[in-house]
Symmetry: C2
Subunit: 307 residues, 2 copies
């Protein structure tokens, strides 16, 4: 027997009971769960046809038709003949429909609040994060691009978290030893020592308030800049995050009038190398080294900005 599966089943049973969804007259209202779900669907999509609702909620059209008839009689919805299709109607909530729904929403929220009232704020945060994780892992279309946020202000914990990501990701992907993390720690210490808000910047991409990608620009002598710590959590690749980070970084270099940006990387970082080249970086140096438990080429890439 697969234990992952049985653990999930156990959670499913727990959550079914927790949702308390299997009793009719949901939330002590005179409406059934199905009816409330229909109202909710109407309110969510602003305008919607009966057909669409049957698709979303997987309901029989005859059944739905009768429920909508009742809603109409009770003045919860209005049906407006569709302009495009004379067979169909656009359904909208009336004011009293909206009111009903907001009462039900409030009841539902009260119920939830009752269940989490004993949790402190950080426990609540853990709860919501865990729910998000469950949802992300169970959803086909993994992560939505819109849910990624970007920022470049350094707050407590950021640098540590980026060091962690370096250690963790390179450890997993390239099998780098602990020494690599030590090296990263050193580079960040030096960075913070010489940090100038005017000439240096670090960009972070976040999901669920957790950093999933980053890049930085570090000023160097002779009007040069170094691009450092470009990193993307493997689970978040292919969403355009890397491109956005690199573009922002290079834009910053142009804005600050650096004449040249360079970066040091290893031949093992194939995904990153691809992106560097796409942004116009060109290989200028390559040297075989043995480090962090691996043999590879240490490479320098340059991108000229101004003459």
């Amino acid at each position: 027997m697969n234990t992952t599966t049985s653990k999930i089943r156990s959670f499913n049973r727990f959550y079914t009971a927790h949702l308390d969804i299997l009793s009719q007259h949901y939330l002590d209202s005179e409406y059934s769960l199905t009816e409330i779900r229909i109202l909710y669907e109407i309110s969510e999509s602003k305008i919607i046809t009966a057909q669409k609702i049957t698709e979303i909620l997987n309901l029989d059209k005859g059944y739905l038709s009768r429920i909508l008839k009742r809603f109409l009689k009770e003045n919860l919805i209005v049906k407006v003949a569709s302009a495009e299709d004379k067979r169909a109607f656009n359904i909208k909530l009336t004011d009293s429909g909206n009111e009903l729904l907001s009462i039900l929403n409030a009841k539902s929220e009260n119920k939830i609040e009752g269940k989490i009232e004993k949790l402190n704020n950080s426990e609540k945060e853990i709860l919501v994060d865990s729910m998000n994780t469950v949802r992300n892992l169970l959803t086909e279309n993994k992560i939505a691009r819109e849910d990624i946020t970007y920022r470049h202000n350094i707050t407590p914990g950021d640098i540590g978290y980026i060091i962690y990501l370096h250690g963790f990701i390179y450890g997993n992907e390239s099998n780098f030893s602990n020494d690599f993390e030590k090296y990263v720690i050193k580079t960040f210490y030096d960075f913070l020592e010489k940090y100038s808000p005017e000439k240096d910047r670090i960009w972070m991409a976040e999901y669920n308030n957790k950093i999933v990608g980053c890049v930085a620009i570090v000023h160097q002598p002779n009007e040069e800049a170094q691009l450092r710590w470009f990193l993307l959590d493997p689970a978040f690749r292919g969403l355009g995050i890397g491109k956005k980070l690199l573009t922002d970084a290079i834009d910053f270099c142009r804005e600050k009038k650096f004449k040249n940006v360079f970066l040091l990387t290893t031949s093992l970082q194939d995904k990153a190398l691809q992106m560097y080249k796409m942004m116009g970086f060109e290989l200028t140096k390559s040297e075989e080294v043995q480090e962090w438990g691996k043999t590879f080429y240490e490479e320098r890439y340059d991108l000229k900005l101004f003459k």
Copy 2:
């Protein structure tokens, strides 16, 4: 509007749809979800009365009576007159009842497997862990002590994560500025430079594969040891994690025959100070300083181990 609550509601809607619980003829069997839940309850508790089932599943006794009657007719269950109470019956699954349930279980597991097939092993682990977290927080409103694990082998990412925790927790709790994290980074760099597996050790407490607490022993000249980086995520306090970490650290010092352990801390760390004192540490030095955006006392505590 409370965002925690609305996020939970959003998850509830998602999970309701995910469970696909709202369609009758669950799992394409000729049985409804309620009927399957009844069978499941019978199989779980080996012997059970109808009364008990109505309590657990919140069903009408008349309704249940008829379902059980059908089960009996279909030879899925047997009713044995209870010895203690002549009104009641003990209900058990027959062999064919068990068989039916195992077929349904297999179907359910297949369905789940289909939904997680694209996940790799570590993602599956994260999924199950997150489900456990959700369950723990929603039931006991607490984290189960048994779910905390301890280790003291350094793996890639650990140090970075601990730095992150320092920055994040002290930033939130004591309002320390970014400079504090820089200082922590420096201390870890020095630690890794001088690290000796024989004389140094770092302990980590984990929950769901994430570090939630730590402490370290760093060897010093003159057979002294320094206790450093004692930290506990606020959400995980009061579970005995801190005590366990400190005890392990001090045991290690005794084992390695250090004559004295000391630690440097600030007067702001009231929770930690309490624990240090409980372990026998005594204040040996105190000095007012202004650092990391705050004014406080920098204190040294000592614990003599051998003469």
